[in-house]
Symmetry: C2
């Protein structure tokens, strides 16, 4: 029986899976992303080789941390390029996996893969355009538009957008090494840890941190809504594990839009418009599986 391989290649951990969809998962393996890409990719290869002894593995999908070169005509297509992750700059992730496994390899960013996974299965199926934003160690965003992950000059890098930052009310300078107080600089997990002296998960629901966090995330959502006009926004990642954050973000988004766009999705139906991932912490890896099934931009 034909099966598909998927890798969510995150900056912190790898998630490898053999599946045909969320209802038919044969195996899943999670392990840390070390500073040695050869070693990390070898663990993934070993997993898929072992699985291939019992199923017919036809295509491998990869959702990778970035930046990734997704230009099919580029000499470095399928490379992780100038990443800040030690050991990983200029890693030919597609070439290595293809050489070891001998099957077509499809690649996109981890967040485009997560968006595509949410688009492929469950209640978000075929919602187009669909945006996926992850808020965790970093902030990243992906999109599906016209049935495909969003590509262009390169891939979306939504985590680094600029948002209003009132330094009188919030003097925190931000943690982004490139932009200081961009969205990621102000609202990522590390930004929360540094601003409040403890990690997001240690902050109680009634801590003012969550209001500040919702403020910046809602500003970002307003910009995403006005630029992209998505039909749904999925918010995932470690920080969004905090369920109490969702109603705060929804309310602030409505406040900042100030009734400018009069669609029910931004009023009575907002609970179904700004939502947690249907696929939980498997959006990325199941999205990689969905990319493999769709066979988009494989080689």
């Amino acid at each position: 029986m034909d099966y598909y391989g998927g890798i969510e290649a995150g900056g912190t951990k790898f998630v490898c899976m053999v599946a045909r969809g969320p209802q038919d998962i044969r195996a899943e393996l999670r392990f840390p992303t070390t500073a040695n890409p050869t070693e990390t990719l070898a663990r993934a290869v070993a997993f898929f080789k072992q699985q291939a002894q019992t199923v017919n593995l036809v295509v491998l999908g990869v959702g990778s941390f970035g930046p990734v070169d997704l230009e099919p005509s580029s000499a470095t297509f399928g490379y992780v390029t100038n990443t800040a992750k030690p050991g990983w700059p200029n890693t030919n992730i597609v070439g290595l996996l293809h050489a070891e496994l001998g099957i077509p390899v499809v690649i996109d960013t981890d967040v485009n893969a997560a968006a595509f996974g949410e688009y492929a299965w469950g209640v978000n199926r075929a919602i187009d355009p669909l945006l996926y934003l992850t808020v965790g160690t970093g902030i990243g965003g992906g999109a599906v538009c016209g049935g495909k992950p969003q590509h262009g000059l390169t891939h979306p890098e939504m985590g680094h957008i600029l948002v209003p930052h009132d330094r009188l009310r919030d003097p925190f300078p931000g943690v982004c090494p490139f932009h200081g107080d961009c969205l990621e600089g102000l609202a990522s997990g590390p930004a929360m840890s540094e601003r409040w002296g403890r990690t997001a998960e240690m902050l109680p629901d009634d801590h003012p941190a969550w209001g500040v966090e919702a403020n910046y995330l809602a500003m970002a959502l307003v910009n995403l809504i006005l630029i992209y006009s998505p039909r749904r926004i999925v918010l995932g990642g470690g920080v969004m594990q905090r369920q109490a954050l969702f109603p705060l973000v929804r309310a602030k988004t409505q406040q900042f839009l100030n009734k400018y766009i009069r669609m029910p999705q931004l009023f009575s139906d907002i609970d179904q418009y700004i939502v947690p991932p249907v696929l939980g912490n498997q959006s990325g890896v199941l999205g990689a599986i969905a990319l493999a099934i769709a066979g988009i931009d494989s080689r």
Copy 2:
């Protein structure tokens, strides 16, 4: 011979055209958009009826100020809905034109039409995704993605995105009735007039106004680039008539991105990445012609 009709229905003026493209324009008529939509649309209808006596007019394309209902299944498809323009809320622009002219009518926003026009002809042909931002009486943006104008929950409303606003350096509160100091509130033509006490066209090239303007526009472009990853950005509208503004905007965009995205389009080739409209002040109406030719979402 088959010809196409196009209307750029702007909040200030209507531009009507019969053409097959920028190289084959039969006639063009410009007149003010009054507070009486029946009267304004009647002038357009009279123009096209007269033209139809000598050519075979097959489809009419409309690029309209908004908000416009572009949802084909909606009971108010083709309506200008809750606009601030007096007299125009809930105007069935498609229905009226279709009833009078008896040919299919295609509609999109004025800025999606302008984006589609730039995408259809000239050096920007088939650049995908392509963004078009107009900076004038208001600020609006449109996009072409996957060969089609960007639609979603509704249409893009990029002019109202939130950008950093340092009130210590720039205490101007902004002029947007919905959001105060959103991009349109800070950087539209009326914002410039109110901030500096004279209209943009009266401000000399060396006035500090242009540095302030470039600052906000560049912040917006950074967000557009990070969210959308366009392959080209076209900047049109009255304020962008000022040629000296382009190099300022390009330099600030590079400064704010801070080398985060390492593509030549954002370094050595930025003069070909952030560009004025190839079609000049005809992007909108020729885009309406292009919509008519493509026949997207007509009825």
